[in-house]
């Protein structure tokens, strides 16, 4: 085995060992946020890389977070069962919206706008049912008096770090699994030309549906974890159009065609937001998004493959750049 094959294991071991060596709570908190959001952005990119641009992922995330917390607060159902239930809801929602879309060939702009409507609906339903969900003021899972493991509530940041790390690695493994499956070739063919792919024997509707449901399930899991970790969710932080655009943005900045792209996007955007927040203090309200927005526009015009994607491409074909 060469060094290259050992690399993931060495990096993994280093990441697992990190909180035991270095346990500054603030830095751990940032790391946990980066890992959870990386996972969320990766789940968007799982379908985004095939040209399926969804602006409804804020909806899936909101369902994941709210269903888990609602089941816990109202029925005392442990998140260990609540999260699968939330995933089921989110998957069902994805099916209900995506199946007719794909069946009736709603693609491109239209698909993006239909899914935009989806995140709008989820946001409005959360706000409208304010008697149960707290509306736009947000919602807090009740603190457990008993078993912390059963309630999935931990005070120790190290535990959360390890959970988030595990989920993030899981996300990368799903990415790799799709990357190496026949689905990837089918989806690439579909994103080039749906009719040609169908003529070549690809079941267009089924392939797209499968990728969408996988993506929705992962996003809902990210939402549920975020809610359990932060112990506070509000329509603005886990749902709606703002979150949908944030996902698209971070994934695009990092690069949606490479596995680590969304992670790089999460690192850049979260560090940027934190740096601006600390640098400007309360005056920073708005500045982080201003920089985000400008970056997004600049990236799409000049670096459509994202930071990591462009970097890897230039490493692979250095001569092309020199000649060009």
């Amino acid at each position: 085995m060469s060094l290259r094959q050992y690399m993931p294991w060495i990096a993994g071991a280093a990441l697992v060992a990190l909180p035991f060596v270095y346990r500054d709570p603030y830095h751990l908190h940032i790391l946990i946020l980066i890992l959870i959001w990386s996972f969320a952005y990766t789940s968007w990119a799982v379908m985004g890389r095939f040209g399926l641009v969804s602006l409804g992922h804020g909806g899936f995330m909101g369902v994941g977070a709210y269903v888990t917390v609602l089941l816990w607060n109202h029925f005392g159902l442990t998140p260990w069962l609540g999260i699968p239930a939330a995933l089921l809801c989110s998957g069902a929602l994805a099916m209900v919206v995506a199946y007719p879309c794909f069946r009736f060939r709603i693609t491109g702009h239209y698909f993006a706008l239909v899914t935009l409507a989806l995140s709008g609906i989820v946001l409005q339903v959360i706000t409208a049912t304010r008697d149960h969900t707290g509306g736009s003021l947000g919602y807090t899972p009740e603190r457990t008096k008993g078993n912390h493991i059963l309630a999935l509530q931990f005070d120790d940041k190290v535990v959360w770090y390890l959970i988030a790390l595990g989920v993030w690695v899981g996300g990368l493994l799903i990415w790799r699994w799709i990357d190496r499956s026949m689905s990837r070739y089918a989806m690439e063919a579909i994103s080039e030309d749906e009719d040609a792919a169908a003529a070549a024997g690809v079941n267009v509707t089924a392939e797209k549906l499968r990728i969408t449901v996988i993506s929705a399930l992962m996003t809902a899991l990210a939402g549920a974890l975020y809610g359990q970790y932060q112990m506070f969710i509000s329509p603005d932080t886990v749902s709606g159009i703002g979150i949908s655009l944030q996902m698209v943005f971070a994934a695009v900045v990092g690069g949606i065609y490479v596995a680590f792209g969304p992670t790089v996007g999460a690192i850049i955007t979260i560090l940027l937001a934190e740096a601006l927040r600390i640098g400007f203090g309360t005056k920073a309200v708005g500045w982080d998004n201003l920089v985000y927005g400008v970056l997004l526009v600049v990236f799409i015009i000049f670096l459509p493959k994202g930071i990591l994607g462009s970097l890897l491409a230039s490493i692979k074909t250095p001569s092309k750049r020199q000649n060009g």
Partner: protein
């Protein structure tokens, strides 16, 4: 029971009328977005944010510079028109040949920029013009005068655009480009110039909408989110680029929101409208008035 029904009908009628008035402004918003889409083949996700900037423009012109409402309105319209042309020049023009999704995302980035620019520059306070127009009482119904004004101005604006598109050379060129962008270049039409004119026109419509909305709603950096999504849904429901479809869809949506709000909370009106939209996408994916192929 009889008297109950009578009161109920008055409320129903009032809701229907308010829906029609709301529909006028929504139709105006949809017209601008449809124009851009039909001619340049780009969706401005940030369209409602242009309206927001226009509303702030009105606020500052009226409150700080002491202009009267009717003097400030043309200036605000010009401001947003210039912004529309600038948006095309800076963001859309470099992306004209890239995939539509990239254009969509780039204007999504502009949405972030405008929203946070407003947050940084104007703060997150709710502001209003301080102009309160009287409420018209018609029998037992109460209709707000500002809504009537908005409806009337929106209708006039749409008629002016219609005349411009059908009676002037530039308007004809715009419609021709929408039909076939390759051939028109051969016919001696400068497509780039037409795109900029169209963007400015779309911006001007957003500006007009801003002048009308600022009478009814407070301005804050996120005000665009409250009617932006609805505008997209209307355009898609009517068929992107289909002016008549957008017009019909705007009134349908406004009625659903208004009547839904009558029976329950306003949010449920929106939820109903969104749900209606998703159902309609399956029934008529290419738009309300599209012919079935």
């Amino acid at each position: 029971m009889g008297s109950f029904l009578e009161i109920f009908d008055i409320y129903l009628l009032e809701a229907v009328l308010n829906g029609i008035l709301l529909g006028g402004v929504l139709a105006l918003l949809a017209l601008g977005l449809n124009l851009i889409f039909g001619v340049i083949d780009v969706t401005w996700i940030c369209y409602a944010e242009l309206v927001m900037i226009g509303m702030y423009g009105m606020y500052y012109l009226v409150q700080y510079y002491g202009l009267s409402y009717y003097a400030a309105a043309p200036l605000a319209i010009l401001l947003v028109a210039a912004l529309g042309a600038l948006l095309h020049f800076l963001v859309i023009a470099p992306l004209l040949s890239s995939p539509p999704i990239n254009q969509l995302l780039a204007t999504g980035g502009v949405l972030f920029v405008l929203q946070s620019f407003a947050t940084v520059a104007f703060g997150i306070d709710f502001r209003n013009l301080g102009i309160r127009l009287p409420i018209l009482t018609l029998g037992d119904m109460h209709l707000s005068y500002s809504r009537l004004l908005a409806f009337g101005a929106a209708l006039i604006g749409m008629i002016v655009v219609y005349l411009f598109m059908t009676r002037t050379f530039t308007g004809t060129a715009i419609r021709a480009i929408a039909q076939d962008r390759q051939i028109m270049a051969l016919m001696g039409v400068d497509a780039k110039k037409i795109y900029v004119v169209t963007s400015a026109l779309g911006g001007a419509l957003a500006g007009l909408a801003a002048c009308l909305l600022v009478l009814q709603y407070d301005v804050h950096p996120f005000v665009g989110l409250s009617f932006g999504p609805i505008t997209f849904l209307i355009c898609v429901l009517g068929g992107l680029g289909n002016f008549v479809g957008g017009f019909v869809a705007a009134f349908l949506f406004a009625e659903i929101i208004s009547l839904g709000g009558l029976f329950s909370d306003l949010e449920w009106g929106y939820v109903l409208a969104f749900a209606f939209f998703i159902v309609m996408m399956f029934v008529r994916p290419a738009g309300l008035l599209a012919r079935r192929s």
